[in-house]
Symmetry: D5
């Protein structure tokens, strides 16, 4: 039986990244202790992805407030990330680390590699500070994502992480009323 | 290598459903020819799920306009769905078929069954008229979903289905400008 | 060679139960030290089962006198048991624990799960205080059981448990004469 | 997974039998077309079994009215059945065929052979005219059976066979009111 | 390669026996220390075997003088042995233990079980005080044996056991001249 | 499960033989159509075997009258058989074929080869005209056989072959009364 | 036994390429009929490779005269090749197709993929018009190649292809004397 | 997956060699501590190879200056190497050890043995002082090699060995300018 | 079980040979129709073998008269055989084909290859015109052979081939009296 | 790969032997410390072998001088050896032990058993004092051997054993000049 990824701990990894003009390395160990959003996209210098990466860049401050790092990931090298950032304004404004996965290690662990094309599907994984996956979405190639919905789901996951999994209504946002669980509510909602 | 679900065709199935006060059966064949949204939730008569199902019920007309049927799925029997609808207002207003999956056939195919608990994770699958999965999200137990985001992703998938996968920006909604793909745009966005 | 269940010890288990208005858990360990009757039925809120459960509820005092607990089991959740008890008089009068087996653990151990339907066959198992099965009956879906016969068999099993297995005539009831075994009786009865 | 016997078709067999003073053979084919009750017991000339066989002999006319043949089975030879009938009044009155299973073929198929002792457990199988098992009970060595309960279960099985499996209340006897199934009864009984 | 039984040690066993009006148990350990003759026959109450058992009973005193126990064995139970002895004069005069082998343990070890019929072939095994087979004969179902020849072979085996295996002429009886082995006799007899 | 040899058909074989002063070959095909007695002994020129072979030679006319050929078999070559016959009076009088089995083919089929010593055990097999074994005796090395008992068993086997296996008392000789089988005799002998 | 690549036929492949400002596809079939030079390098936009690619570009006319196509290969996408050509003069002057192998198909077939890094070793394969490898060189990451030596080896391979493999001295260049093979030369050179 | 030889350590070996008029042995251990060039050729006394070996002999002093030993290898014995050197001027001038590999140990390790012909392909392996392969070329039978290119590649490998693998341009020779690696150069060369 | 080579047919082979100053090929097919002597020796140019090859060369005319070809075999190439013949008088006088077996095909079939040394043991095989081995001798490395004994054995093999295998005394030479086989001679010689 | 017997150590064995009128046993251990010649022949009392055994008997004194024991071996028993020696003058004069191998142990180890016939091929093995085979010859059934050649080969083996394997010319006899090995002789003989 294939088990799904929920609550599965991410694998050890060590990849190069382009981050704030420099080449660094990022390992699993570096990512623990805060929430993580792994944001896969097919290819640098492709003409349809940058808007998604820019949408995330525009909300980056909200993720940071939520004690969360964003990791964009494609199968391109760190040299290509750098060249792209130098060539394109949308990419130039990115402040989060852009992971380079030419060997497909991350894409294979998260099971989002199109082996035939050598490209990653558009996918997003929300990982808690212990490295366990709490939510994930995988879209076919052209279907873009929404930074606000990622943020909402992240905050719901953080809420459940604190209050347990018998509490959280649909489309909940922080600040809305939380339902207090009680056996007496069975069949009443 | 575990392959992910994107573009995989759903399995044959035949389950009972509670639909508009009646017990009917729903098979894979019944679902082909229009888009489908499979919406899994853990349990009937549980006090935290109904709000999600109600959120979907409130947007049902928009899904219907988009040539899409919604299928809610839990591991309860059709008898329990009926009893729940009779006991609870939120459920009573549901017009889409509520599939009964006590044998776990659907939950196992979609890989969302928590075998230890006998309950389904909160997951949503968007399936095209040929029965191929185009997008899916799986959340840990307590993390609710958002009917509007499901609708937005469905519409993006439908747009890609018509126009190819090299077109669709992030957070796109129908009516917004679509980017015309061209090699000259490489590195310009 | 498949061995049958007689004298086999039941497996470890831990399930939720609805019992006297509350949700509790029941484990194998909880059941040892007294006789147990495991009473499987297909589904809550189904219109043909309640009379069997009520028949057992009406004889519950006799089982208690015989140092025996009854455990009804279906593949429904504890939330559904609660809702059923609240909705139906026959169920409301039940005093024994109603086990919730949505993951099929008990039904698979006792080999009474119809995997195709996700429902349990109508079956009853009599288990001694050491957890060893002494008698069992499995009926096809619609064939109901008889609380008095279960009680009679239980008492015969208890009598054999005390006096050995070379004593008990057919259709024996407590208080009737017990036959004293003797080699001289061979061929004389 | 061990599957249980419900609806399983019995195996081909051919055994000798002692029947009305003669030695005959009985095969699976001979048994089809009417209901069958296979009644296993440990040993001829043993001092505790004859009462069960006599109890059945006393109700034989009722089983015949229900278009049903009884087959008693032990691991003794047909010569021993004959000698037993000649030596014992209880056995002498038996009119149904007494099957001889010294090779253990029937006992192994029905999974009731105690391989260590070479004896059959006390078990009863109710088989429909197509040769499919509809109900069975297996008791530990000393626990006797009840001809009236076997008859009641047989009649319930026959009723279900005609009217479907969504009808039959507990402890039902022919002539009592049958419940007419209807979805409206869900949660009302 | 299948090895034959000569010099093979018999397996551990424990069976019930009918002996001098009583039911006892006989184990391998009980049989060591004296010579043993295991005499298999197909079935009690069968009309052709008793003469063989009576022939052995008539020579029993000679076997006893030769420090040898006889064990008759069939696949019937001890209850049947008892009933047979009570019903038949030939059997009533038997003083040696009649082993009950309904589980086929002895017949399978000695490889004389007709699995299709559940009966033993007519076979005789001569076993030395260490439990090792020294001679055996297996006949098809109807071919009777000869107590005098068994006795003669037993005495030859005992003679060889004392004097080595290079001594004993054909059809030798105790008291006849024994040939003294010598290399000079090679080619002279 | 090791099956015994009763009713097993002998294997194809082709061996040399010393017969009436000549070397010939004997094949399975040559042996069909009449009864056969295969008489194994350890070694030519050994000082203890000749008396057995002479005993058989003295009764050869009786076997011939019973439509039976005798085949003596050892692991020596045909040259050695010839030399032995020339050197020894007892062997010189033999009229039946002496098979040469230096390759162990016959001894291995009949499972009487002591692989460690390269010699055959003393064994005798009675084979019907269809080549099926009906009786066999295997003795440890020094235990001689008795031509008269072989003849008696052969005649019993022939009698059973004609009249069926439910007839023949122990130690029966041709000309003695045969018991007519009848169910009424069960338990009467 | 691992066989080496000499004379092995290349696998079927189909990859995208950047060629003269356009994205095209190149398949094995496209490459047959002329000689091919497959030139692997680690990464686009890396600062040490361009000189090798430029060296080849400068000799491209000589390869074309020799009926040979050059295929540079890296694990980058065609979008990155295009961006690189637009960003760098050395690359801009390349006229041969630059194959995009992000899925690693070519690098795995030619066994030059560093799976840990996701990059190709520096390797060159000379393939004849039938698609069979005639010469190959694989260097560790930093060790550059020499376009003139590749050209010399190609011409030697072409000469051997026409004249057989018993002719070609070391460091031979077209136009130099070819040695006429003759047995008389054995041991004379 | 077949891994290529780059960075693989050579196997242990011990072979005879003809060296300066003597027969010696050469082991892996003898070769460590300096660079090694293993130069395989098909056969002694063949009329096309000597020019390659002579070309290497003429450059031997340059390899020695570069702290490098040359090992020529064929599948001939040391006796044949000696005879060839005595018979041929070109071979007589060789100062490096000529390894004798009649058992094919070296050719199999380096995967250059044509098993059908029993001859080695023309191949050259450059091995660092730790015994790890840094570069290799394998040519089909008739395609000769170039001592100067081997020397150039060796020197590049030595340069990389000292300065790392992100530095060395194509066709580099010692003394030419080395490029200093810097991230700023990305996309600028 | 390893079977020996007697009467085994030699494998197909095709090898080069040096024969009368030329390089030719020899296949199994070429060798059929006359007797063959395969004469293996360790190595050309080795200082201890030539005397054996010369001894055979001196008797070559006798082998030819006996319709027999000699094939000397070593693991050296045909080029080496030629060089050896040109360098050494003993080899120069050889008229039979000298097979070249550098790939070890013949030595492996005849099981005379010392895999560690890559050399053949000293062995001789006599093969009949049907290609079946009739006699063979294998000696440790230094133990030479004797052309006259090979010739004598060959002639004995040819005699047996004509007259059958029950005739030929030790050390027989053609022209000596042949013993006429007769059963009467058994034990008389 | 099947390895040949050269230098292989003989297996442990223990067989009976006829030696100087007595039956003794011979084990591997008995044979160590001196050279051994194992001389296999097909059968005692066969009319063609005795001349070979007599030829060996006539040279026995020479083998003894060379510190060598002869062991003749056939598949006959020691009784047959004795009878043969008594019946035949040629055999009577044998002084070396005649091993009895009826179980085929020696013939199977030396791989000279014709399993179909149960006879040994004519074979001779020369074994050194450490039990290692140094030379062997195997002939088809009728091809006799030559005691003088066996002696010559034995002496050559002993000479090599003392002086190494690079010395011994063909057809060498003790007392002839031994060639002193020297590299300078390569190509000179």
């Amino acid at each position: 039986m294939i088990t799904n990824f929920i609550n599965q701990e991410i694998a050890d990894f060590s990849v190069n990244a382009y981050h704030n003009g420099d080449v660094t390395s990022v390992t699993k160990k570096d990512t623990l202790g805060k929430w993580g959003v792994y944001f896969f996209y097919p290819a640098d210098f492709s003409f349809v992805c940058p808007t998604e990466l820019g949408d995330l860049a525009d909300h980056y401050i909200d993720f940071q407030k939520a004690n969360t790092e964003i990791y964009s990931v494609s199968e391109d090298s760190e040299f290509v990330h750098k060249a792209w950032a130098e060539a394109t304004d949308t990419i130039a404004k990115i402040k989060y680390p852009m992971l380079a996965d030419p060997a497909g290690k991350l894409a294979r662990f998260f099971n989002v590699l199109d082996e035939e094309a050598g490209l990653a599907f558009r996918a997003v994984f929300i990982v808690n500070p212990e490295g366990q996956i709490q939510s994930y979405t995988i879209n076919n190639m052209g279907i873009g994502r929404n930074a606000e919905e990622i943020l909402r789901t992240l905050e719901a996951a953080q809420f459940v992480s604190e209050h347990g999994d018998r509490v959280c209504p649909a489309n909940w946002h922080p600040g809305e009323d939380a339902i207090t669980p009680s056996l007496d509510l069975v069949g009443k909602l």
